[in-house]
């Protein structure tokens, strides 16, 4: 049963991921769709990130006692100004760990 579950998940995921890449060869995108797709990464990732940072436990925590919020801010600011993802990760992990240790 577990392997049937996994097999179905694998087929579904591959079907989704291959949808356009494999079968979209003959599709021509209208210009508006091509434009729309430019905004997909920013929109999806922000939609993932913001609730995790602002409401890690489900309710909004706008305070210095929220290590997720401060850690994400550090990560964002370092990445914004330096474009160095690894540095952003390292510094934000340090801030996050320090805040957790203080709690």
């Amino acid at each position: 049963m577990i392997w049937l579950t996994i097999g179905g998940m694998a087929i579904l995921t591959l079907a989704i991921r291959s949808s356009f890449l494999v079968f979209g060869q003959t599709l021509q995108f209208p210009a508006w769709l091509e434009r729309a797709l430019h905004y997909v990464p920013v929109a999806v990732l922000t939609a993932l990130v913001l609730p995790m940072a602002l409401a890690p436990q489900g309710r909004i925590e706008l305070s210095a006692g929220n290590p997720y919020l401060l850690g994400a801010l550090v990560s964002s600011l370092v990445a914004f100004y330096t474009r160095n993802t690894l540095l952003a990760l390292l510094l934000s992990f340090m801030v996050y760990a320090a805040l957790r240790a203080l709690q």
Partner: protein, 226 residues
């Protein structure tokens, strides 16, 4: 060498994904999944968030159809990635497109889409392969380590592993917010995601993404200065 560049540009994502592989492996073992199935899911499905959700659903005794439906909804965003990469992938051989579609994770998409946009997509399948292989082997390795150590580290969630995804995605998004339409897209998507959080089946994510994309397009067509 594009293969090597693909691996190199993916290193930060590997660092970000490592804790997820670790905690997925540990979590799956803790829910009573046999080691072969824990590894098999990473090997065959290779989609972190849906693997997490599947494990918790399996642990809760959910039916197979529920697990499949959830996988479908949670991974639907990958169809958008697939479509976004298609303009660059038209020249890739068919076998390559199957292979690279299999490995189209959030992280690889973020890395390769950025690379193609900045450097163009010439021979992009080699870059895509480098990123895919790096993420895949990294995911398998950390899944294995997590499953092996699972019993020894029962409190993994308290070690900040849930912070890893947050930090990684923040660092990916932030540099893209220099242009107004993108910033507005992010603000709209983030606000809706926050307001609609907790909707079942991650529908909040789909809704917020849709609104964000629309906001970006609207800003662009209204000529908001880039």
């Amino acid at each position: 060498m594009l293969l090597v560049s693909g691996v190199r540009d993916t290193v930060p994502m590997m660092v970000g994904a490592a804790p997820f592989g670790l905690i997925y492996g540990a979590l799956a073992v803790a829910h009573g999944m046999p080691l072969a199935a824990v590894l098999g899911m990473s090997l065959l499905v290779f989609a972190g968030s849906s693997q997490f959700i599947a494990v918790s659903l399996i642990g809760a005794g959910a039916g197979i159809v529920v697990i499949w439906l959830t996988t479908l909804v949670v991974n639907l965003r990958h169809a958008l990635y697939s479509a976004t990469l298609l303009p660059y992938a038209r020249s890739w051989p068919l076998r390559w497109r199957w292979l690279l579609a299999f490995g189209l994770t959030d992280e690889t998409f973020a890395v390769t889409e950025h690379h193609f946009r900045v450097h163009g997509g010439l021979n992009g399948h080699w870059f895509q392969l480098g990123s895919t292989l790096a993420m895949y082997l990294n995911w398998l390795l950390w899944t294995l380590i997590g499953a092996t150590l699972g019993h020894a580290l029962p409190q993994l969630g308290h070690w900040g592993l849930d912070f890893a995804m947050l930090a990684t995605f923040s660092a990916i998004v932030a540099p893209q917010l220099r242009r107004w339409p993108y910033l507005l897209a992010a603000l709209a998507a983030g606000s809706v995601a926050l307001a609609a959080r907790g909707l079942p089946y991650k529908l909040d994510l789909m809704l917020a993404s849709l609104v964000g994309v629309l906001a970006g397009m609207l800003a662009e067509s209204r000529g908001v200065r880039a």
